[in-house]
């Protein structure tokens, strides 16, 4: 069944390549959506088979063939379904199927719709390869393939310069992270002589040793890879630009699944990270910094998708914060609930953009509640979930992370404070968005207001299903009542025991109350700023112009990268081109060319000038030699 999970999306790609491109978007959309739905069913079957096994032995392996047998190294093309990967598979195929369905409505009428569905299926296939791979190399293949699909889909509307630029930026920034990842793989291969999870992870402690420089370096490099794919400091800059792609792509790839690959990878290699307290500290610190930085930038953005993009970066920061303090279950839990509500928010944003014919600036929206009722209530559910309001999904997962940040032996007050501040920011920017888009006075021209219409059913149904998941999806991980934390118990075989295992219920309830209060405070602030007294936000911006400019310009990180990294490389390249390339190589090549030209001038009269006749002559010559050799031998 493992191969079935992978086979359906791949079959979707092939069928659409062969027939979909000719038969049009309707056919392509149905095939693609059906393929992912079947893959989801296969994933659910795999999940049920895992459940039927005793908890300690929940791992299904599927060996396809030996991929790279060289000397003592043997890399197999094999797949592993264990609790961790089955959670990922269900999220990817489940959310993926909904987003495919939504895309049928969203991409309706686009000339490239069939191509779009091919890329999307290819993405799901790659992502499944990533999470199902049973060794680092299969994971890496998936890792690179999702990067490729991300690039293709960001630049999907390739007539637009900004989309092409964003695609290139995503690809190149990710290359930096992938380079780190690759070095880490080389180091693992060097130390362990194998890349199998089943070999490397159990032996990690004995081969590398706890706290050694090698362990720290491997972990930091792995994390470096994760910062690229999962948009953490310092490599997060590509994700906001990636919003140039179609909105369902932002939902699937740049919110729900691909960007969580780094979290998955860190969780998968937790045995390595356990060896290096330093690396764990770096992971937690980067996560905390990223969630604060992205959260503050999201406060002042005016593009609906960019607010959500920075929100994604910020939520990914939460996941790394959790992973960094050793609370992998909380990280994966948040990964799952985030996939629900962030996909919902993006699809809701897509529905708004669709209804407004491409308008993305929230300053030109407002009062859309009446025209888009379904979008409005589902988006609000998503907002409540991400803000962490009880009993929505985000409440449980964010609370689990905050609790771990405080109580875990690796955590502390500072990390908790960062997380709590992030929760305030989240509630504020999300409800700023909701109030500005759906409430207040409509800023649209009158004739456009009249034509405002709710999205078609293929787009509404995914919104409603995801809204239900954003409400109920967190209930699998209710922490308080022992034995009710089904999610944690299911993942327990994969992760080391977090802390001493005994949790103080009183403390946890108190912290839940605090985080709930923080979330409500954030929403209240947004209400005051953007509903009660609408000029307040602008007046604060006037009072602290420096701070406002800092945030609006996103801390000038893009400019700093451009000045310190991109421009020096460009200048160096130009120098090399002017001096070395033109002065040395070109001169030598041109000299050789001139010599040949001089010699050839004499015999060029004999030539016909047709490349093909030369090719035929070469072919005849090759045949003649062949015949000569055959006859002689």
């Amino acid at each position: 069944m493992l191969t079935l999970i992978l086979l359906f999306p791949l079959a979707g790609v092939l069928v659409n390549l062969l027939f979909g491109l000719r038969r049009g978007e309707k056919f392509a959309g149905r095939v693609a959506t059906g393929a992912i739905a079947l893959s989801f069913l296969a994933g659910a079957w795999g999940f049920l088979s895992l459940l039927s096994l005793p908890p300690g032995q929940r791992a299904l392996r599927s060996f396809l063939f030996e991929w790279i047998p060289v000397g003592s190294l043997s890399v197999k093309a094999s797949f592993l379904l264990d609790p961790l990967s089955s959670v990922m598979v269900l999220v990817i195929t489940g959310v993926g199927a909904l987003i495919h369905l939504y895309s049928i409505g969203y991409m309706h009428g686009d000339r490239g719709a069939a191509r779009y569905f091919i890329y999307l299926n290819l993405f799901v296939f790659s992502m499944l390869t990533l999470v199902l791979g049973d060794n680092f190399l299969v994971l890496f293949v998936g890792w690179e393939a999702v990067g490729l699909c991300s690039y293709l889909l960001i630049g999907f509307w390739y007539e637009r310069d900004s989309a092409v630029e964003a695609g290139k930026k995503a690809f190149i920034v990710n290359r930096v992270g992938d380079f780190c990842f690759l070095i880490a793989l080389f180091m693992i291969l060097f130390h362990f002589g194998s890349l199998d999870f089943g070999v490397v992870l159990p032996q990690a402690a004995s081969v590398l040793g706890a706290g050694t420089a090698a362990a720290t370096l491997v972990c930091l490099l792995l994390f470096g890879g994760a910062t690229g794919k999962s948009a953490q400091i310092p490599l997060y800059v590509w994700l906001p630009d990636a919003m140039e792609g179609p909105t369902p792509v932002s939902a699937l790839i740049h919110a729900a699944t691909m960007v969580t690959a780094g979290v998955y990878m860190v969780a998968r290699t937790n045995a390595l990270f356990a060896l290096s307290p330093l690396a764990m500290g770096v992971v937690a610190t980067i996560g905390a910094l990223t969630l604060l930085m992205a959260g503050t930038i999201a406060l002042v953005q005016n593009d609906i998708k960019r607010v959500l993009a920075y929100s994604t970066v910020s939520q990914l920061g939460y996941m790394f914060l959790a992973a960094g303090v050793g609370a992998y279950t909380a990280a994966i839990f948040h990964l799952m609930t985030h996939a629900f509500f962030k996909a919902l928010l993006f699809l809701g944003a897509g529905s708004v953009i669709h209804a407004l014919h491409g308008e993305q600036d929230i300053r030109r929206m407002g009062g859309l509640r009446a025209g888009l009722p379904v979008t409005h209530w589902t988006f609000t559910v998503g907002g409540l979930a991400i803000a962490g309001i009880f009993p929505f999904a985000g409440f449980f997962s964010k609370d689990a992370i905050l609790f771990a940040a405080m109580t875990s032996p690796r955590g502390g007050l500072l990390l908790w404070l960062a997380g709590a501040a992030g929760a305030l920011l989240t509630a504020f920017y999300m409800f700023r968005l909701i109030f500005k888009v759906f409430h207040g006075r409509c800023a649209l021209p009158i004739e456009q207001q009249a034509r405002l219409h709710e999205s078609p059913p293929p787009m509404r149904v995914p919104l409603q299903v995801l809204a239900l998941l954003s409400i109920a999806g967190g209930w699998v991980g209710i922490p308080l009542i022992h034995g009710a934390d089904v999610f944690g118990a299911f993942l327990a075989p994969v992760f080391p025991k977090a802390g001493d295992g005994h949790q103080e219920a009183v403390l946890e309830v108190a912290m839940m109350a605090v985080s709930l209060a923080i979330a409500f405070f954030g929403i209240f602030l947004a209400y005051r700023f953007y509903v009660q007294a609408q000029g307040v936000g602008a007046s604060y911006a006037r009072r602290w112009p420096g701070l406002y400019r800092l945030l609006v310009n996103k801390y000038w990180v893009d400019e700093i990268y451009d000045a310190w990294i991109v421009q020096p490389i460009k200048r160096g390249s130009i120098w090399a081109w002017r001096n070395f390339e033109e002065g040395f190589i070109d001169a030598a090549v041109n000299g050789a060319g001139a010599a040949v030209q001089a010699a050839g001038g004499a015999v060029r009269r004999l030539q016909t000038g047709y490349v093909k006749s030369y090719a035929v002559a070469m072919l005849a010559g090759a045949f003649a030699i062949l015949i000569y050799l055959t006859v002689r031998g």
Binding site: G600, R604, R605, Q607, T608, G609, Y610, A615, V616, L619
Partner: protein, 101 residues
């Protein structure tokens, strides 16, 4: 691996022949170019198959060289095609006869 050597060689010959036919028949420089790659890879397959059949690494070694050369060739070849297209707004190989006097 499992299939006998002949099968690989037949596939290799088929690929190579397809490439040759393409080079001779097609007029679009990019397609010609792709066909050359096909020929190279046909040859690669033969090398690999022999290497595997003779249980020697030499076949793989040669393939790495071929691949490196093919990559270099692809870079230069595509650059030439781009430049020619800029000059003459066409990639028809029959129109590329500047060297003729």
């Amino acid at each position: 691996m499992l299939a006998p050597l002949e099968h690989y060689l037949i596939l290799s010959a088929v690929l190579f022949t397809l490439g040759v036919v393409g080079v001779v028949v097609r007029r679009n420089a990019i397609v010609v170019f792709l066909c050359i790659e096909l020929m190279l890879n046909g040859a690669n397959l033969a090398f690999i198959a022999h290497g595997s059949a003779l249980d020697s690494l030499d076949g793989q070694l040669v393939v790495f060289f071929v691949m490196a050369v093919a990559a270099a060739e692809a870079a230069i070849g595509l650059a030439i095609v781009v430049l020619i297209y800029r000059n003459r707004e066409s990639t028809d190989v029959d129109e590329m006869n500047l060297l003729k006097l």
